[in-house]
């Protein structure tokens, strides 16, 4: 049977993940978990004055698909404008992963995406309160 899922790019990102580190004092961070599997990933994002992603990184553990997805997402986020983050879709994750994702692996593939969604929700709260310390909403 095909080993499509474990194409080289996924295995590479899993073995040598990009941006796998903590951003101390990141403007935003959120953790997503896949309770049934035990996969977890924390996404860190910082912005420059203009609201552009100046740094994105992750920490986590889990299957190759979830970790490669996080790694690819951090690459993708760098340089994006804050207002564009909400335009990212699950489809973008699948495109980056470049393989067919079966229903049982959707949660793995979207772990980083889930973390990003949490970050976007936090932003909404901050926009209302404006005073949340430590959360540089970068004007979102």
């Amino acid at each position: 049977m095909d080993e499509e899922l474990y194409k080289e790019n996924i295995l590479d990102h899993n073995k040598n993940p990009h941006n796998k580190r903590v951003i101390a004092g990141a403007h935003c961070e959120a953790e997503a978990r896949n309770a049934s599997c035990g996969d977890r990933g924390t996404l860190f994002i910082s912005f420059d004055d203009k609201g552009r992603v100046s740094d994105a990184a992750f920490q986590g553990e889990g299957c190759a698909v979830s970790q490669a997805g996080l790694s690819m997402l951090t690459d993708k986020l760098r340089g994006m404008m804050n207002a564009d983050l909400k335009l990212l879709s699950p489809g973008d994750m699948y495109t980056m992963l470049g393989v067919a994702i079966s229903p049982s692996r959707v949660k793995c593939a979207l772990l980083g995406y889930e973390a990003l969604q949490k970050i976007l929700k936090v932003h909404k709260v901050c926009k209302v309160h404006k005073v949340e310390s430590g959360c540089g909403c970068a004007g979102l």
């Binding site: 049977m1 095909d2 080993e3 899922l5 474990y6 295995l11 073995k15 049934s36 599997c37 035990g38 996969d39 553990e61 889990g62 299957c63 190759a64 698909v65 970790q67 692996r105 793995c108």
Partner: protein
């Protein structure tokens, strides 16, 4: 009797060649090593359930017509079979929808009957499945009392019985311990724990879900007060399970699920309860499920629990030996086969358990990866998850071969 897996496999339609699902053929014949999740169903169980639906479907304990009487008799006959199977009296056998329902019901029954009060303590183990653990935790939170946990011995991953001696005190009201771990396969010395508990007057609950149908289980020998299990892990259908309790204790308990069939008399103010086990089976039960479970008991008894146990032990021993020969594989299981129910967890260095399971799945080897609904245990074992292979009567040495080959393939893919 001669234990012949080839003959046994023929009893299970799922292993027939050339299966189709919605017009699509399955690519390969499955090597089924996920028995701790659910077992497969023999034809005799399906036939018994179908006979109920096609020949004598009627509700039980109600209709005064032939089909109704046949259905009631078949349901009660199934109860008798299950009771005999675990060395109990039929009046002590309550049909539920499964082990989870049994566990939740039981804890609720104990609470409603004022068997537990503020200040009491519960002792259980870090090994427990969430279905036994969480109802007790929630009870403790509601009633504001402590849950103390029996931990593991270093290295062997067995329950620390010496620590249990200290944890079980006169304040202990309930002791809950599983008969066999669904993660490491460890068969616990429940009788030893029960003896400690009874010395201080505590009630003993036993989750026997991973054990019943896989080894001879006699409730009186275990010395426990309550025991429960599911039908679907012992060749029965899903949606049926058992709660067993010592007769004199069940008599003292009030129901926790209310409805038809459980009452003597109902007025606008209150209801009085029927005897046991009727008191605990509100509403129309899973009649076909109970009949199917009865047929599963017949099937297993015909093959012989001792024979099944021996077969599982041989498979377990082979699996542990063969897996440990693969570089980078760490077996996380009870390694003494005589003390293992037939479940072998393992991890592969550098490959997440889900990736191992996925690659095995693509080779048509069915295993499970994850925390197996025992998160505190997985945490205590110090791994994020495990791959779990679990065996039953229809598994063969070739199945172990396929498992090991699949693990090697995973290593190849990840190491290239």
């Amino acid at each position: 009797m001669q234990f012949d897996t080839e003959t046994i496999k023929k009893d299970f339609p799922i292993f027939y060649e050339g299966k189709f699902y919605e017009g699509k053929a399955f690519v390969k014949n499955m090597v089924y090593l996920d028995n701790a999740a659910t077992s497969q169903t023999p034809r005799v169980v399906l036939d018994a359930m179908e006979a109920y639906y096609t020949d004598y479907r009627a509700n039980i304990h109600r209709g005064s017509y032939e089909e109704g009487e046949v259905a009631s008799a078949a349901y009660e006959e199934a109860r008798g079979k299950v009771a005999h199977f675990i060395g109990a009296d039929p009046r002590e056998v309550v049909f539920t929808s499964g082990a989870t329902a049994s566990s939740n019901m039981l804890v609720s029954m104990l609470e409603h009957s004022n068997i537990v009060r503020a200040g009491d303590e519960i002792v259980t183990t870090v090994m427990e499945h969430h279905s036994s653990l969480i109802p007790l935790q929630e009870l403790a939170n509601r009633q504001n009392f402590a849950v103390n946990y029996i931990g593991l011995t270093y290295g062997e991953l067995r329950l620390d019985y010496e620590a249990a001696e200290k944890l079980i005190t006169p304040k202990t009201k309930i002791v809950s311990v599983m008969l066999a771990s669904n993660v490491t396969g460890a068969v616990n010395d429940v009788a030893r724990i029960a003896e400690m508990a009874h010395k201080v007057g505590a009630l003993v609950i036993c989750d026997a879900t991973a054990a019943v149908g896989h080894m001879p289980v006699v409730v009186k020998k275990l010395g426990v007060d309550f025991l429960y299990f599911s039908g679907h892990k012992m060749c029965g259908p899903t949606g049926i399970g058992v709660l067993w309790g010592r007769g004199e204790l069940l008599e003292k308990l009030a129901p926790s699920v209310y409805g038809g069939g459980i009452v003597d008399e109902v007025t606008l103010e209150k209801a009085t309860w029927r005897g046991v086990p009727a008191r605990f089976e509100a509403g129309t039960p899973n009649i076909a499920g109970a009949i199917g479970l009865g047929a599963a008991v017949d099937y297993l008894e015909n093959i012989g629990l001792e024979n099944i146990r021996e077969h599982s032990m041989a498979l377990t021993k082979e699996a542990i030996t063969r897996l440990e020969e693969v570089k980078g594989v760490r077996v996380i299981a009870e390694k003494e086969a005589t003390k293992n129910i037939g479940i072998v967890s393992f991890v592969v260095e550098g490959i997440h358990p889900h990736d191992v399971a996925e690659i095995l799945g693509r080779e048509a080897v069915a295993v499970r990866a994850g925390h197996h609904c025992a998160m505190p245990f997985i945490t205590a074992l110090g791994v994020p998850a495990t791959v779990r292979a679990s065996f039953y009567l229809y598994n063969t040495m070739e199945d172990i071969e396929a498992l090991v080959a699949g693990v090697k393939k995973a290593k190849e893919i990840f190491e290239k």
